[in-house]
């Protein structure tokens, strides 16, 4: 556990982990293994905003990052839209911040 991973985990937890009763209560726990889509259950717009914030704050090159690999609009009737559903975990954010560019395809 170094400062960088603690910073990124705190960033995700304080901004994108929902509270138990929406306005109060404990936030969902966030660790390096937390999956943004399956555990935090963000919508695609929110996840996109989060990644944008992340790329800017830690000056990571977003080359090669496509939100559609990880997220899906999930509106009723979008069954035929491709959904690779690759896992997007907090550890991937940490590793890419270390490298300075997005490491995964």
């Amino acid at each position: 556990m170094d400062t960088l991973s603690e910073e990124i985990i705190a960033f995700v937890r304080n901004n994108y982990a929902r509270r138990r009763f929406i306005f109060w209560g404990e936030r969902l726990p966030v660790t390096a293994e937390t999956r943004i889509r399956d555990d935090l259950k963000l919508t695609i717009e929110t996840a996109e905003a989060m990644m944008q914030e992340y790329f800017e704050h830690w000056s990571v090159h977003s080359q090669g990052f496509n939100i559609r690999n990880y997220f899906h609009p999930e509106l009723p009737g979008t069954r035929d839209v491709p959904d690779p559903h690759k896992p997007l975990t907090v550890s991937m954010l940490i590793e890419s911040a270390r490298a300075g560019h997005w490491l995964y395809t």
Binding site: K41, A49, H72, P76, G77, T78, R79, P82
Partner: protein
């Protein structure tokens, strides 16, 4: 009942005379439905606004539909993010069996994703109200032996 007269066991309703009780039921039905049509159009508009018909930005050649009028309009008009760390629930799912709650911090996405469900609820409420209205109007006009005693609505 100024619009109703009874003649030889038949009814007079809305300008039509010599109407049997079955015909009376349909006349009331037509009238009540047309009274509710404005509201029904609102419901349908809310539902249709949520259909994912609009192509999203994608790599050249692979335009995929994936967003809806409600999403686009509300994200454009209500482009406002909640305060840091505040997330509100939205109801999503590719199909009905995959329905689940997802969380957003964007007011436009919150409205855009929930409006179609509001449309569905209002549709069923409207349908229920139409049938309820038909029954009560019909029962007010019809003679006791022709009244509907018990229905689902």
């Amino acid at each position: 009942m100024d619009t109703t007269e009874e003649l030889n066991g038949t009814y007079f309703y809305g300008g039509y005379s010599n109407v049997t009780h079955v015909q009376l039921f349909w006349l009331v039905g037509v009238q009540v439905v047309s009274e509710h049509l404005g509201l029904a159009a609102t419901d349908a508009a809310l539902v249709l606004a949520g259909q994912p018909l609009i192509p999203t930005r994608a790599k050249p050649g692979s335009a995929t539909k994936g967003t809806s009028v409600a999403s686009l309009a509300s994200r454009y008009l209500l482009n406002y993010r909640f305060p840091k760390g505040m997330l509100l629930p939205t109801l999503n799912g590719k199909t009905i069996s995959q329905l689940h709650v997802s969380w957003t911090n964007h007011l436009g996405a919150f409205v855009g994703r929930n409006v179609p469900w509001l449309g569905w609820i209002m549709t069923f409420t409207t349908v229920y109200n139409i049938f309820n209205d038909i029954r009560s109007t019909y029962n007010r006009v019809a003679r006791p032996e022709h009244r509907i005693q018990w229905t689902y609505f």
